[in-house]
Each structure stands twice: as C-alpha cells, then as structure tokens.
Symmetry: C2
Subunit: 326 residues, 2 copies
C-alpha cells in the first residue's frame, strides 16, 4: 500500500493542493468549512502531514543536532537523555551523532547536520580546528569544549572539581598522587582539573605525574597505558582520574599489582553519573551537575535561536560523592 | 549575517536556479563546466546544500528514527550507539526519542518521526496498542518488543537466558528464588525469561514468586517494591533480576536486611553491558549480544527499505558472565 499524498487529500476534499498546504501551514485566510474538509480527508486517508513540505514555508525545521564522542559512555548517555527530554518539551526533535573524537567523523556529522537544516547544535565533542564550526551560520552551544570565541561554553567548575579531589587525597595522607586525563592539546575545560592537580602538587613540592589517554582508545589500549602507572611509580599511593571509567579500570588493575583499594591505593573518579553511583557506590567521585548543564545548554541555545544575547560561559558547581575508595 | 541561498549561488554562477538544483541532485545532462561553476560559487559563499530541497526530488531523507525508553540506561545507550554507528556508515542520520515507556510520548514521537519523513524506524520501546505503528506505511524493525505481526522482532534468546540464570542458582543450592521482571502485560519477549523461571521452579515443586516493576519507575519507587522481597520472603536465598539495574538495587538493599551477597543471597542480573561489566565485574549476569542485535536490526531494516523479504524473527544467543554474586 502506497502512502497517501497531498494530492490524494486535495482530491478527496475537493480542494486545490495550494489550499491544503495553506491549511497545513496555517497560512492566509481559511474558512472553518475548508479546514474541516481537509482534516476529514486527512483522517480518512491516514495522511501524515509532511514536515518536509512544511519546512519550505516555515524555514524552521524544529531539529536540533547533538554531537558527542559516544552515548555508550554513561556521562554522555545521561547528558543526551537530559537534553533530548528538554528539547522534546520545547517541540524539537534531536539528531544524534557519535563522533568518537574522530575529527573526520565529526566534520562529516557537522556537514550533514547543516545540510539537514537543523535549527541549532549542541556539541560535546572534540575539535576546535574544524573550520565548519566557524562558517556554520548556525546557533551552536558547546558542553565542556572550547570551540571558538563566539560559541558559548557550558561546563561545571573543573578547577574546583580538581581541587576537591586533591583535598580528599591529601587529607588522607597521600603524597605520591598520579593524575589521569585526556590529551592536553584537547581544547577542553577539563584540562582545568589537571591544572588544579599540578598546582596543588607543586605547592607541596610533590612531583606531578599525569598520564594521558584519548577518549576513543579501547579498554585494552587504556590498560596498557595504566600499567605504566604501577610499573613506573612503585610508590604510588593515590590516583585522581578525570572520569569514572578510567578510575574503574585503574581499580581493576590495582588488584594485579597487589594494591588494595583504599588501604594501599586511594582512587578518586570524576563525573558521578547516576549509573556509576548505582553500580559502583563505593567509588569516591566528583559529581558533575548533568541536569543543570543540560538545562543551561538548552536555555542558551533557545536564546541564540531567538537572536538574544547570551553569556559566553556558564560555569556550574560540582559536588563530592564520598564512597570508600578515598 | 544571513545564510546564503540557492538564489545567491545561481546568481554568482550566472546559471538558473533549476540548473543549480539539478547539479545538487545530480539529475539530467550537466556539462563539466556547469558543475564546476556551481561548486565554485558554493565554495565562495560557504553554501551548504540543503537536504530539505533535495528531499523533494529524491523522496529519500536518509533519516532513521530510533525510539527507546531511555538512552540513560546503559543497555539502550550502548544499543543506540551501536545502531547509530552502523547507520552512519550506511549514510543515514539518526533521530532519537526517549519514550520512557509513556504511550502518549511514544505516540507523539511516532507522529513526529513520520511527519519528518524518516526512511525507517527501529523501536525498542513499549506499546503494541499504538495505532500509528499499523498505519505507518513505513519500514519498522523492533528490538525485544512485539509490535504487530508484520514488524520483524530482533531479540536474544530470552528463554535460554532465563534457563541459564536458573541453572546457576539451582546448582549453587538456592531453593527460595525470587524473580524480578517488567509488567506481564508488556508485549516483550523478555517475558520468556519469566516463563523459564516459572517452569523450572514448578518442575521442582518450588513456589514461583515474581515481583514486577515498570521500567519508568524512579529508583525510590523501585526500592519500595524490592523491600517486599525481603519483608515477605524471609527465606529468600536468591534473586534472578531481569536487568542489571534492578540486580544492583537489590544488592544495595540486601545489606540493610543483613543479607551478605553471595553467602546469604545469590543474585543474577541480565543484560551484561560493557558498563556494568566495567563498573560491577562482580555481578554474575546474562549477557545479551548487543552488537549482534544492532547488526541484525540494521540489516533487516535495510532489507525492508529495499523492499526485500525479511524474516519476522531473529533470535541471537546469550552468554554468561560469571562474577562473584552467584
């Protein structure tokens, strides 16, 4: 069975196609009788009004694109859920892309989303060097990523998060603290966590050692890097990891190196998603306010779409979830 | 600055709008000179070809809609990621909706996605009673949900999963085994897990006790139900939970009732996502083959879009992750 077309509705209603279009788009003068005829014909034919046709009149597509490294990661999964729910309530649908921090893939998404005429973008992915972001002529909001000077950045207070993690570890007597973070060339406010770590170590004349792992490494590749923490730092007594996935991998690995957590090794993670707090409540972690970040990102994007002035930076407070690992 | 329009490209290239359209859609005879002129003008203006205009010619939108209860849940998050990655490689973009098993919201999504002219749908949400699925005139594939008799269902072998969970618990000597699942009126193949549980209990003259919790209950509401497991079944020595989130909540609660896991209470979960196996490797769980399910769902949908015959049912094998909780 073929889908019914505008033509079929027009024929059944005994009205011109142009008039049916005007009814669908609520344009111009329309008698109640005409409107009723069109809706009766649509109902009889199970006709679904076509947004594509509508868009040609309205310009708005009511589509928002989201680009994240991967929604399989609980932080981005929870964030994408929170964003989508809020955008749905404002009448928007959401197109989603998992860029895996691959600049090529991110560029392709960006081109496709622009081609698809989204009304705006929320980007939690990687690469400041993608030229399209500058030429997009599109309302864009970034989450925890610095894109270019005109794109507002919503993030939590990453310096304070790093400071809170370090205060916990130092108070428990840790001195040989190792840090794990993403590559420092990534234009991410999360590098502020590293800055807090390094400043607090230096202030105490302690050596700062940071291991970097890229987000899109496989578990096996990450473990290869993390082995070096134990092999090259025999005295390591604490790890401050910049996300809970890495913290969990390090806890897994500690067993192999005969380090008991927390007796021999303290571990603090970062993000504190609902899922990690359910599955691993024993992990001490810095909790990002995901709902508030999502709320601020959507509000800022709506303001940009409406042509209003917006702040270039929104920084939200973090909290601590105290478990047993530190 | 206003976005450049097809008009602007046509003017700059000194060519009619129709011809520019034909170049964008690769239709009819076009000289190399014309093509080059159009692309040069597009580049100079940073013009992004508009899919909306294209769709009117091509009919295909290269959009696929996904409807899941919530991608904040690690099973659906990992599934949505696997689906999106595969669809991206086939040239599709993905529209996503979190229905929270709310039939009203699901219906709204469905109408919006149809209106947006998606080329197909993959649905892991709830409700067989939504009339639109029958009138959609659209290629649809369901994951672990029975929609109507014409919609192919991709799932893992839920009966075998239930059987495997029960075999583990019975072999460890458990006799007072309680089951947790979704409401039985849900048209879900996951009810096969319950059937395996009940049949294996009955075959041993053991009483079958199933507690049901709806997917969209809050953590607090679920815990209220799970308390009854401990309050009304003093002798309970094992729980077979139909997902890992519920299994984790029950393990959390067991402490309160002075039940040590696994000494006093064995627990088997279900799903075995990457995330639960990383965060909670000690949980014994039945592992669904998420990548294979995603692969089969995408292949089946592609076949439906191409007008090919497809199987009405694809059932994939489960495996066991042996942790310490059972």
């Amino acid at each position: 069975m073929q889908s019914p077309k505008l033509d079929d509705v027009a024929k059944l209603a005994g009205i011109s196609k142009t008039t049916v279009s005007r009814v669908l788009n609520n344009r111009g003068y329309l008698s109640e009788k005409t409107i009723k005829k069109v809706y009766a014909a649509m109902k009889a034919l199970h006709y679904q009004p076509n947004d594509v046709a509508r868009q040609l009149f309205n310009k708005e597509t009511k589509l928002i694109g989201l680009i994240f490294p991967t929604i399989a990661n609980p932080f981005f999964g929870q964030m994408a859920y929170q964003l989508e729910t809020r955008l749905f309530n404002k009448g928007y649908k959401v197109l989603i892309g998992n860029s895996k921090n691959d600049p090529k893939k991110e560029e392709t998404y960006l081109q496709k989303l622009i081609a698809n005429q989204v009304d705006g973008l929320i980007v939690g992915a990687h690469n400041k060097d993608i030229e399209e972001y500058n030429n997009a002529n599109l309302p864009i909001v970034a989450i925890d990523r610095i894109m270019n000077k005109d794109i507002p950045v919503i993030s939590s207070d990453n310096y304070d998060g790093g400071k809170k993690a370090m205060e916990i570890l130092l108070a428990r007597g840790a001195r040989h603290i190792v840090h794990v973070n993403g590559p420092s060339d990534l234009a991410s406010p999360a590098q502020e966590r590293r800055r807090a770590y390094e400043e607090m170590m230096r202030a105490r004349n302690l050596p700062a050692v940071t291991y970097t792992v890229d987000f899109n490494l496989s578990e096996a590749e990450k473990i290869k890097v993390f082995r070096k923490i134990f092999q090259n730092n025999k005295q390591v007594d604490a790890v401050f990891a910049s996300n809970d996935v890495d913290a969990s991998l390090i806890i897994k690995l500690a067993k192999e190196y005969q380090k008991r957590v927390p007796e021999d090794l303290l571990v603090v993670g970062y993000d504190g998603t609902d899922i990690v707090r359910l599955f691993k409540p024993e992990l001490t972690t810095i909790v990002q306010p995901i709902e508030q970040i999502a709320e601020a990102a959507v509000e800022t994007l709506m303001d940009k779409i409406a042509g209003k002035e917006t702040p270039l930076k929104v920084v939200l407070p973090v909290t601590v979830h105290k478990g047993e690992t530190a």
